[in-house]
């Protein structure tokens, strides 16, 4: 009876008195008078959406999401449940970071610009390439953008984009959509025991190739051993070498610049974001040769009128709001806040922590594979390669049945073949790994 706003938006602050004054000032009796909508298209129905109190709304969402099972996820393939230091949430959630807009007024956005500049610098160090933008949506869209970059910068009349046959469906499909408006064609080349089948790729690559794509680690968790050869092949055929990876892998694996990569894409949210049903952060780094063709926003250092260092969005003439249909991409809203979180997580780990985390991904995966391999009816890892963080397991029983049994006992794994399961150690505690091995023994026999 005493509550105001009971029938309006709780976030509109108008008192009745203020509303009257404002309506008076604009010469209207009610807000309805201000709308200039022809009667024919006026909506006089209801959405039938009930208003709720804040508490009820929280309860509703909690109740809905409570239907998600609480499983230990041994899942990877691009998204990982690494532990995120508490620092990241506390600082990234400061409302100045969370609620600000794109930095079109850099004078009142220095803090965010600097954080993004630091994010770009992190990627420059990780990739060895000179330029990193301050985010794409995710790995799949970054890959798509790499292809349109290849199309723009190609010297040849080529139109073939070569990707591994084992490519995540979301990446492949997104890539297809990104090149649908061009003459590019996506073609798969074979893999061999988890790595690039170099002979087959050599066979497949000709001057029609404008882009070669490889991943390290690969989708099956193997560490790619042929990167330099792929790089050489790209040079020989004047194709762009695009490498897929992520910041943790890049902390220890071969530096992209050292193997001739022209572009690095991937999902950088492996640092900074919990598993969020596929929400990501598209990593995009490239050589300074392609500076004017880079998609997405770039933060640059400059000076203010007192000659102090200051940061600003730069080279905006590449972007849609200036260049419109001749822009390097249509991206506008991006994943800046996720990039902030990634930078914070990386800063929190430091170089020692990042290398540690990466190396533990190798040793813990190795350990788990050995333990699984000891089980009856199980071979792990399937591929005779070094593995990073995850690997494929061959099981005698049908893989879907095993995965289903594991799920009932609290574990989620990937089914990647009729008799193949993929498991990942990232973020899983030693105690849960022990429990997983025990459970696996029971369900796999």
């Amino acid at each position: 009876m005493h509550g105001s706003h009971a029938t309006g938006s709780p976030y509109a602050p108008h008192t009745d008195e203020e509303r009257s004054q404002m309506l008076d000032a604009v010469g209207a009796e009610t807000e309805a008078d201000l709308f200039d909508i022809p009667e024919a298209v006026q909506f006089d129905g209801e959405f039938d959406i009930d208003a709720r109190s804040e508490r009820e709304t929280r309860r509703l969402v909690r109740s809905i999401l409570g239907r998600n099972d609480d499983l230990t996820e041994l899942l990877g393939r691009g998204h990982y449940g690494y532990y995120i230091p508490s620092l990241v949430d506390h600082l990234a959630d400061r409302s100045e970071f969370l609620t600000s807009y794109t930095q079109y007024q850099p004078e009142v956005s220095q803090g965010f610009l600097q954080a993004l500049f630091e994010y770009q610098s992190l990627l420059v160090e990780l990739t060895g390439l000179e330029i990193a933008n301050c985010s794409m949506y995710d790995a799949a869209t970054a890959l798509g953008e790499a292809a349109t970059l290849a199309e723009r910068v190609r010297d040849t009349s080529g139109h073939r984009v070569l990707v591994p046959d084992r490519l995540l469906e979301g990446r492949r499909s997104t890539l297809e959509n990104y090149v649908a408006g061009t003459d590019l064609v996506v073609e798969a080349y074979p893999t061999d025991d988890g790595n690039v089948d170099l002979a087959a790729l050599e066979e497949a690559t000709d001057e029609e190739a404008v882009m070669l794509y490889a991943e390290n680690p690969t989708v099956r968790g193997t560490i790619e051993e042929n990167l330099e050869a792929v790089g050489d092949l790209a040079v020989a055929n004047e194709a762009l070498f695009v490498l897929g990876s992520d910041p943790i892998a890049l902390s220890v694996l071969q530096r992209p610049a050292d193997v001739g990569a022209d572009v690095v894409v991937g999902d950088a949210s492996v640092l900074g974001l919990p598993t969020s049903y596929g929400m990501g952060l598209g990593l995009f780094a490239t050589s300074e040769d392609y500076l004017r063709q880079v998609p997405g926003r770039l933060v640059g250092a400059s000076e203010d009128s007192t000659d102090r260092r200051a940061y600003t969005l730069t080279l905006q003439t590449r972007e849609q709001h200036i260049r419109r249909e001749r822009a390097t991409s249509n991206i506008c809203t991006n994943q800046a806040w996720v990039a902030l979180r990634t930078a914070m997580h990386a800063a929190s780990l430091g170089p020692n922590g990042m290398v540690d985390l990466a190396e533990r991904g190798v040793t813990r995966a190795e350990d788990l594979a050995e333990r699984l391999d000891d089980l009856v009816g199980v071979k792990a890892p399937v591929h005779d390669r070094h593995h990073f963080r995850e690997f494929v397991v061959r099981v005698d029983q049908p893989a879907p049945a095993i995965a289903s049994d594991l799920e009932k006992r609290g574990f989620a794994v990937h089914v990647v073949g009729e008799h193949e399961i993929q498991v990942c150690v990232a973020g899983v505690s030693d105690a849960r790994i022990d429990s997983f091995v025990t459970t696996f023994r029971e369900v796999a026999r």
Partner: protein
């Protein structure tokens, strides 16, 4: 106070591989070293706290960026997005994430009702990605109907830059459409632009001048008559909630900017989300997968993923920006019918009230949730810089170009009369100032006017390119 770069606080090089480091990998598979800042939690907490203090956010004051709908972001939506039950991997089995699927299903349903659309995908991670889905769906639809020859997309001159860029990314030729004298679509020009090659017309309504396209029914008919589709750019939907729906106006496909209309925070540039709604005819072409009910037990409905029959595939690796979608769902569930309608009512009232209080000329009306004033003889960009000195965020400037020295202003419903008065005072103070004052602005901000030319001419895009100072 200047905050050094992390790299000015520390740079530590860690060697990898080599003889005695115990690296688990052979040297030929690893890099040689990694050089990054190694800092402690107290140092990082201070660094990022300090950086945050050099940012103007929605909790700092009014943020009237036209076309950006910078609403207050309710705090509780952060809590629900942070629920541990929300943290699920995208490869989880459908059976094990019924909560996630239910929320997505309900949000699809909410958005369909709000936009008057028959089917919705939540996959696009941003508005531009939503546009891209719309364009790809249109292409697939035409192709499916044997009309793959349609190669033109019509875009009004005053439209958002993303419309042009998206159409181009989709492989279309962009046909630009001038406005009529009233600032709306020129029907004659439209007639001239339309042809059997027209794939779609992209339109926002109200348009970027805040004007409702009164001839929308006729426009829809004209587009449909030549076999084209009508695309609704949802950037300005906050003007219409509960009063008009794109679906009812004849639009075939639309995107929603949940980070505008539904108050999810903009995060300094993103993440947002750009769900797309379509009429029944286009539903088979939407991205895969979508969510539907599949019966379930008596007490609880269950949900499953499915691929539309003629899906265009994917435009994102998974299902878009899930955490953002949770916040949008919570916002809509909180406000309900009455709250949503009130949001639009107050947004339009606020725009009209603010315009009535400022001295700058507003050439086009009646506007709705936003208006475009003209800075007249002043440089609109300078006006904006000077407004910063008055402690408020300026409007969008120099666009749309139909208004000279445009000040595109959208206060949203969350500003009180007192705040609007303060904002108007800032406008009016700057209106009375001379050019040298404006050109010297800002002088009360963390950084003074920044040299854009220098930034672009000699790009320094990482700390590796700078002469670092030891902190």
């Amino acid at each position: 106070q200047y905050e050094p770069l992390l790299s000015e606080k520390d740079l530590t090089r860690v060697e990898i591989g080599g003889e005695d480091d115990g690296s688990p990998l052979p040297d030929d598979l690893t890099r040689d070293s990694l050089e990054l800042p190694e800092l402690s939690e107290p140092e990082l907490a201070r660094h990022y706290t300090r950086l945050s203090q050099m940012i103007y956010g929605i909790d700092s004051g009014p943020y009237p960026l036209g076309s950006c709908t910078m609403k207050y972001n309710p705090k509780f939506t952060e809590d629900v997005a942070a629920l541990p039950t929300a943290a699920v991997h995208p490869d989880r089995s459908e059976r094990s994430i019924q909560g996630t699927l239910e929320l997505l299903y309900r949000l699809q349903d909410y958005l369909g009702r709000i936009g008057g659309m028959d089917a919705v995908t939540l996959q696009p991670p941003a508005g531009a990605a939503g546009e891209f889905v719309g364009i790809r769906v249109a292409a697939a639809y035409h192709e499916h109907n044997g009309e793959g020859h349609r190669d033109e997309v019509i875009v009004p001159e005053s439209a958002h830059g993303t419309n042009f860029a998206t159409a181009a990314l989709g492989g279309y030729d962009v046909v630009s459409l001038p406005s009529d004298d009233d600032g709306r679509v020129d029907l004659e020009a439209l007639e001239a632009a339309l042809s059997e090659n027209t794939a779609a017309l992209m339109l926002t309504n109200p348009n970027t001048l805040g004007l409702f396209e009164r001839d929308i029914t006729e426009i829809a008919e004209m587009v449909h008559d030549v076999g084209g589709l009508l695309y609704y750019d949802g950037a300005n939907l906050n003007a219409l909630l509960g009063r008009a729906r794109p679906g009812d106006m004849g639009f075939d496909v639309m995107h929603y900017n949940v980070h505008k209309t539904f108050a999810t925070p903009h995060g300094g540039g993103g993440p947002g989300a750009g769900p797309v709604g379509v009429v029944d005819d286009l539903a088979p072409f939407l991205p895969a997968p979508r969510v539907r009910e599949n019966g379930g037990s008596k007490s609880e409905t269950s949900y499953e993923l499915f691929d539309p029959d003629h899906t265009i595939g994917k435009v994102h690796g998974y299902q878009g920006n899930w955490l953002v979608l949770i916040k949008a769902f919570a916002y809509i569930a909180r406000l309900g019918d009455a709250g949503l309608a009130d949001a639009s009512a107050k947004a339009v009232l606020n725009a009209n009230y603010l315009a009535s209080q400022i001295g700058y000329d507003v050439p086009y009306e009646p506007f709705h949730h936003e208006f475009v004033a003209s800075a007249g003889e002043q440089d609109a960009a300078d006006v904006a810089k000077r407004m910063l000195d008055y402690g408020v965020h300026p409007p969008t400037t120099k666009w749309p170009e139909i208004v000279p020295e445009a000040l595109m202003t959208e206060p949203t419903e969350v500003e009180s009369k007192k705040t609007l008065d303060r904002l108007a005072a800032a406008f009016n103070a700057v209106a009375d100032e001379d050019d040298p004052t404006l050109e010297a602005a800002p002088d009360r901000t963390a950084a003074r006017r920044i040299d854009q030319t220098s930034a672009a001419r000699s790009p320094r895009l990482s700390w590796q390119t700078l002469d670092l100072e030891d902190d």
